[in-house]
């Protein structure tokens, strides 16, 4: 199923005509090759430089607060920074895993909910005919156009009005909770999920559904048994993109959350790099690497699917 989906994703791309038969010109001369290699290596240097810099900083021994020069592996290299970051990255009494768990809750919750309820709406927009279809789709596009910051003020005020006295938890303010931040993220993620999934569902041929209808499948059966399995790759890509935006979310969590136990990775990163704090750079770098690795690895491995989905998404806009 994954393979079918993968080829479907690729056929969405307009660039997929494999029309290369043989090379037009012969191989470049040795001089030309050397020049081209020099360009490519120069580029590679600029791409890799920040990554290597952070990596080597993270190995710096802790007793120095600032790096002393450009060394790939600093003198007395140590993994001590990683140990300390995992234990307690900032002055707040919360470990890396505590922060990661909060980010994870926000990321998983908002991406699953937005994809789960987004896909049914996307199905309706792609396959069913109903009054007001164009107007509603335009409304979704209109919301999609807005950056997350545009809904910051009203969401802050409205979520802040939800304050209840719970029997066990005590005073609960929806604004000052991971749940509230998750809701704020979903408000921006859901239109994106609907639009992206609709774009994908539009590319699934109608033949299968018609065959299913001939065999007596109802609308719901068609959706559950035919469309959903075919849409798995798009669901995965949309969920992953939602996950990354939740994992690195900053504006809502920074403004909404005040309790230490709710702090997220992005909030900790910001407080570590502030110009008035004295966080050693090795700690900051180790933290940045640990923070970046989970999405980066998935991105890197699933790049082909994600970039083709993104590029076509952009074309559809």
């Amino acid at each position: 199923m994954t393979a079918t989906g993968a080829s479907a994703l690729r056929t969405r791309s307009r660039f997929s005509r494999p029309s290369m038969r043989r090379s037009r010109r012969g191989k470049p001369s040795l001089l030309r090759q050397a020049l081209l290699q020099a360009c490519a290596i120069g580029l590679l240097f600029t791409v890799m430089f920040p990554i290597i810099w952070v990596f080597s900083l993270s190995l710096d021994p802790l007793n120095r607060s600032r790096p002393d020069g450009l060394n790939l592996i600093p003198t007395n290299a140590t993994l001590e920074a990683y140990r300390q970051v995992l234990e307690q990255p900032t002055n707040n009494p919360i470990s890396f895993f505590g922060l990661a768990l909060n980010s994870l809750k926000i990321a998983i919750g908002s991406s699953i909910i937005s994809v789960g309820i987004g896909v049914t709406a996307a199905y309706a927009f792609s396959r069913l005919h109903f009054r007001g279809r164009e107007v509603l789709m335009l409304a979704i596009l209109g919301v999609l156009m807005l950056p997350a910051v545009a809904t910051l003020t009203p969401l802050f005020v409205l979520l802040n009005q939800v304050q209840v006295d719970l029997p066990l938890v005590g005073e609960f303010n929806l604004r000052n909770s991971l749940l509230g931040v998750g809701l704020a993220i979903i408000s921006g993620l859901l239109p994106f999920a609907i639009w992206n999934l609709k774009g994908y569902l539009d590319t699934i041929p109608h033949d299968l559904e018609e065959a299913a209808a001939v065999d007596g499948a109802t609308g719901n059966q068609t959706f559950l048994r035919i469309i959903l399995p075919l849409a798995v790759p798009a669901l995965a890509v949309t969920a992953f993109l939602g996950f990354v935006s939740g994992w690195t979310e900053f504006y809502f969590s920074w403004m909404f959350l005040t309790k230490v136990e709710d702090e997220t990775l992005a909030m900790a990163l910001y407080s570590m790099q502030g110009q008035f704090t004295n966080t050693p750079w090795s700690l900051f770098s180790a933290f940045a690497i640990l923070f970046a690795i989970p999405p980066a690895v998935v991105y890197f491995l699933a790049q082909r699917y994600i970039t083709s989905g993104l590029a076509v998404g952009a074309v559809k806009g």
Binding site: S23, R25, Y251, W254
Partner: protein, 337 residues
């Protein structure tokens, strides 16, 4: 109901699927619209109401009095740059924001295409290796890119100044020259261009971040060009430059233009660099609309003003979206190639 009638009915439905209205469609829409109604549409409408009030920190507490209605005062204050906060100039903000997006996208597209062409040369060694590593900036979350580059621009210990000092050392330039305060220097680096050094520093960072995806899109377009076209052009006596102009560019344009528009909107609203690297400085001159909007509510706690600012932003983005859609439509005919 027998199976036969069901399938006959379904067949009929399938045949007329172009016109039928499904009542069940609304059921599929209910969950999404319930959620969007509560957490997206209602807040947006509420924001419009807020923008006409002096909603402030005193109105936040439950049971506090309703904010006073002030009419279009907030809008007037924003548009006329009359806010009681430092370094706020609405016209400068918009002009800078447009320039920021335009200059970045132009560089991304040109560089992306140039590098895609370089990587498209037949027989280039280690092509797959380069292509795999060139995508790295894309996979790193932008918040981390911004904070790491901020450290790299540190005047005393940053990588950029150290690298420049190293290179300068080869030419006998003293390392003291390279104590550049990239993100906070007040004097403009180029006297007759009113742009702070922080702009150029962030332009470099965003270029690092932005060209790889453009190169991916351009590579896809380059691979779709049939070789016969080049051969035909060669037979017709076209030189290398003419072949590039008539064949390569013709194919690149329909692929790159929608992507450039997408990039423009993304860069226009790019929060992370301006917020984390320059913090809008020096004197708010590298502030973008999104970071200013965030500062109005997060730092200044001016909820009413922030709401009106967001409404104004909505109209600016609407104009940009409509204009770019027009541009995209104007080139749509190329897509049928």
């Amino acid at each position: 109901m027998t199976v036969a009638t069901t399938s006959a009915k379904a067949k009929g439905k399938a045949a007329t699927s172009g016109r039928r209205t499904t009542r069940g469609a609304y059921l599929y829409l209910v969950p999404a619209f319930l959620v969007m109604g509560v957490i997206t549409l209602y807040p947006l409408l509420y924001q419009v109401w807020m923008s006409f009030t002096d909603y402030g920190i005193q109105n936040l507490r439950a049971g506090s009095p309703a904010p006073a209605f002030v009419g279009i005062q907030n809008y007037v204050d924003v548009l006329a740059s009359q806010l009681a906060i430092p370094n706020f100039n609405f016209v400068r903000l918009i002009l800078y924001n447009i320039w920021w997006a335009l200059s970045n996208v132009a560089i991304h597209v040109v560089l992306g295409v140039a590098i895609a062409l370089l990587m498209h040369v037949k027989g280039l060694w280690f092509k797959r290796f380069y292509r795999a590593l060139f995508i790295l900036p894309v996979v790193i979350p932008p918040i981390i890119v911004a904070t790491v580059w901020k450290n790299m621009y540190d005047p005393d210990y940053g990588a950029i100044n150290q690298l420049l000092a190293l290179l300068g050392g080869w030419f006998g330039i003293s390392a003291d020259v390279f104590q550049i305060d990239w993100l906070r220097q007040i004097e403009d680096p180029i006297p007759f261009i009113p742009l702070p050094l922080a702009f150029f520093a962030m332009l470099v960072t965003n270029t690092w971040l932005g060209w790889p995806l453009n190169a991916v899109v351009a590579t896809g377009a380059l691979q779709s060009i049939p070789n016969e076209l080049y051969e035909a052009a060669e037979i017709d006596g076209a030189g290398p430059w003419q072949r590039f102009k008539t064949v390569t560019l013709t194919y690149l344009r329909p692929a790159m233009l929608p992507y450039a528009i997408y990039g423009f909107v993304i860069t226009f609203n790019l929060f992370y660099l301006a917020y984390f690297m320059s913090a809008g400085g020096p004197f708010g001159r590298t502030e973008l609309l999104v970071t200013q909007a965030y500062r109005l509510v997060n730092d200044q706690r001016l909820y009413g003003v922030g709401a009106s600012f967001a409404v104004i932003m909505f109209f600016i983005l609407l104009v940009i979206t409509l204009a770019t859609n027009r541009m995209a439509r104007a080139t749509r005919s190329y897509e049928d190639l």
